[in-house]
């Protein structure tokens, strides 16, 4: 084949990422601290004021029901995307996207993709608010588990068909050795995780199910070793180091994912109270980040969640408001397949976890989110604090709430948030997998089973249709 033809093929697969790398190499140099503390906040605030969006956060109505307001946020996010671009940490420079490029790429962004093989394949499609289309649920987030629990936990979670794909958990040791970041242990972890995961899925009868990869590796080493072991198409986790920032780690992964025909997921949380300021400017930053993912790294599954810096979660009023606004802005105005995570802070077996899940998942699903990955039991901070029940519960709420009106979703959140918001800063950590499940039989202890069924009933009483998990009910 002539080089010219090879180049054409390469341009088609890798042109975007190559272009972004070139821009990073020659882009405007900016000191990161200045970007974080002056440039970014200043421009976001200016744009919010220009579009009449300051002080629009209504914490008494955490799920936005004003479509016109969401559309204004979209316009603000578009402007922020053009004026800011992404900051490349490795080159300390800006990757800008001009108006023509943003417009062109926006029209080309895919509205669906497939992940998984054979019977395990699922089509992931863009949604709009309250459209009733069943969204995709992926479990769990990359919560740390003892390596001997990896297979039983994974098997337990994916034994319910409510879970479409698998992402976590993550390992912190590999065959007894510590999984040190940025070392060859990570390279091995990518390989090891493949073997553990495929065995778990085989045991659960879910051979061929799709995966979001690679969970147990923080840098690119684990991804580069592990990702290509899976039959494609899969979802490639090419996360950003921070919102509106990118680095060589992300680009390394994007090249591999694009070559193998993977679907890139890229995001990083925006923080209310952090560099993006209040809920309004945080929502704008989230929208801008999501708009730039496809043009800059070819991500077909963007989704920067909005967290509240005070408790590193997003099931409180400000978090729900910002996230619902950022979600609706995109889902009302684009074909982007949007995902955002819901970050619970309470741990397994505490009622608070279920309340947070109801709020976060209902707001997300009604607002048109196509895809989510959950749970984040105990904020992801307690090792082994994760069981299949949290995953099944979140899946049921997320899928069940897809057809709810925004007004109904808001009513549900207004009722449930007061039940836990006083505990967000100091949440209960709950119990571990070993405490709550028989690891051999993969069945919950009777008390936890009863609690799960009671909370399912509670969600239904609020008006959320709860699909059966196919395991317990």
């Amino acid at each position: 084949m002539e080089k010219r033809m090879i180049d054409e093929k390469m341009r088609e697969k890798h042109g975007k990422v190559l272009r972004s790398l070139d821009k990073a190499r020659v882009g405007k140099r900016v000191i990161e601290k200045e970007w974080d503390t002056k440039i970014l906040p200043g421009i976001l605030k200016e744009i919010a004021a220009k579009h009449g969006l300051l002080k629009t956060c209504d914490i008494n109505n955490p799920v936005n029901t004003d479509g016109e307001l969401a559309d204004r946020f979209f316009k603000a996010g578009w402007e922020a995307a053009l004026r800011l671009g992404f900051y490349c940490r490795d080159t300390e420079s800006i990757i800008s996207v001009d108006a023509d490029e943003l417009e062109t790429e926006f029209r080309k962004v895919p509205s669906s993709f497939v992940a998984g093989i054979g019977e395990g394949a699922r089509v992931v499609k863009a949604r709009t608010p309250s459209d009733g289309q069943e969204p995709i649920f992926v479990a769990p987030l990359s919560i740390q588990m003892d390596e001997e629990l990896y297979i039983p936990l994974s098997q337990g979670i994916v034994s319910s068909k409510l879970v479409d794909f698998q992402e976590g958990p993550s390992l912190d040791t590999v065959m007894g050795s510590p999984l040190l970041a940025d070392t060859p242990y990570e390279t091995f972890a990518g390989i090891y995780e493949y073997h553990l995961r495929t065995e778990a899925q085989r045991r659960a009868g879910r051979k061929g199910m799709g995966n979001a990869l690679v969970s147990s590796a923080s840098t690119h080493f684990g991804f580069l070793s592990g990702y290509n072991l899976y039959e494609q198409p899969q979802i490639a986790l090419c996360l950003n180091p921070a919102f509106m920032k990118i680095n060589y780690t992300t680009f390394h992964k994007c090249f591999v994912a694009n070559e193998l025909g993977g679907n890139i997921r890229s995001e990083s949380p925006t923080m209310i109270g952090g560099y993006t300021g209040g809920p309004e400017t945080t929502a704008i930053a989230s929208i801008a980040t999501d708009l730039l993912q496809f043009p800059i790294c070819g991500a077909v599954l963007p989704g920067s969640p909005c967290y509240d810096i005070r408790y590193s979660g997003n099931c409180g009023r400000h978090g729900v408001w910002a996230q619902s606004m950022a979600t609706q802005a995109i889902t009302r105005n684009s074909n982007i397949i949007l995902m955002k995570t819901i970050n619970q802070v309470a741990g397994p077996s505490d009622d608070m976890f279920f309340y947070e899940s109801i709020v976060g998942m209902t707001a997300a699903s009604a607002s048109g989110q196509a895809f989510t990955i959950s749970p984040r039991s105990a904020g992801g901070s307690k090792k082994n604090h994760l069981t299949p029940i949290e995953a099944w519960y979140n899946a049921a709420v997320f899928k069940g709430a897809a057809g709810l009106s925004l007004s109904s979703a808001n009513d549900i959140c207004r009722e449930v948030i007061p039940m836990f918001e006083d505990f967000l800063m100091n949440p209960p950590k709950g119990k571990s997998f070993r405490d709550l499940f028989d690891i051999e039989t993969l069945t919950p202890i009777p008390e936890y089973r009863e609690q799960y069924l009671k909370m399912r009933g509670y969600a239904e009483s609020l008006g959320i249709p709860m699909p059966k998990d196919g395991v317990i009910c």
């Binding site: 912190d172 040190l180 147990s216 952090g274 800063m425």
Partner: protein
């Protein structure tokens, strides 16, 4: 007198670094004690910032800029402090452990410590263990504070403590750890001196740490 102190408070609150130096000099020239300038000018402004941050009226950038202004204030008054007084409660070298790029929690801790009287040297993210040690040695730090959100990076906290022990300098530094996967149990297991569950708890934890010698007990702030 009170109006100059109020102006200093406002300059700190508003992050007006270009006027802080002149206002502080004006206050010193008018005979106001340096401790009063720090407390009623600088700390007053920082306290307001802290309260407004908790209420989401100001955000991390304002806190960081206020902290930078406070540094300028302290540098200005330092020569006027008596030999017994120290402008700072202690000196902290802080960073994210190797492999970890999540800086916002670390930046929040660094800022909170800076606005509450600590001299902070922020090494940023993905910090090699040796760099923590070399900087602490060079700066004669009191506390080395390591943050990790990733489980694959938290191992470097234990590595830091082991390295300090092997080099015979463990007793020189108080080691504080924190971040998502970190717990008081983990801090105890690796032989750290301090742990705080949240960024705001890092301040009382660090203040308590300064009252004890390294390796004597584990200081925990989590409730």
């Amino acid at each position: 007198m009170s109006s100059i102190l109020h102006e200093i408070e406002e300059a700190i609150y508003n992050g007006e670094d270009e006027v802080v130096g002149d206002l502080v000099q004006k206050a010193l020239d008018s005979g106001i004690a340096p401790e009063e300038i720090i407390a009623k000018g600088g700390v007053a402004g920082l306290d307001r910032l802290g309260e407004d941050f908790n209420n989401l009226e100001v955000f991390l950038p304002e806190l960081m800029i206020g902290g930078d202004c406070m540094k300028l204030l302290i540098e200005k008054v330092k020569p006027y402090l008596s030999a017994e007084e120290d402008a700072y409660i202690g000196k902290v070298v802080i960073g994210c452990a190797k492999g970890d790029l999540h800086d916002i929690g670390k930046s929040l801790v660094a800022t909170q410590l800076a606005v509450h009287g600590f001299e902070v040297i922020d090494l940023g993210v993905d910090v090699h263990t040796n760099r923590f040690i070399d900087t602490a040695e060079k700066e004669n730090a009191d506390i080395i504070a390591v943050s990790a959100l990733l489980t694959t990076s938290q191992y470097y906290m234990e590595e830091l403590i082991k390295r300090l022990t092997e080099e015979g300098i463990r007793d020189k530094y108080r080691i504080a750890v924190g971040g998502g996967p970190i717990s008081a149990e983990y801090a105890k297991k690796i032989g750290a001196d301090g742990y705080s569950r949240t960024a705001s708890m890092a301040v009382p934890m660090a203040k308590r740490l300064m009252k004890i010698e390294p390796t004597k007990e584990l200081v925990v702030e989590q409730d």
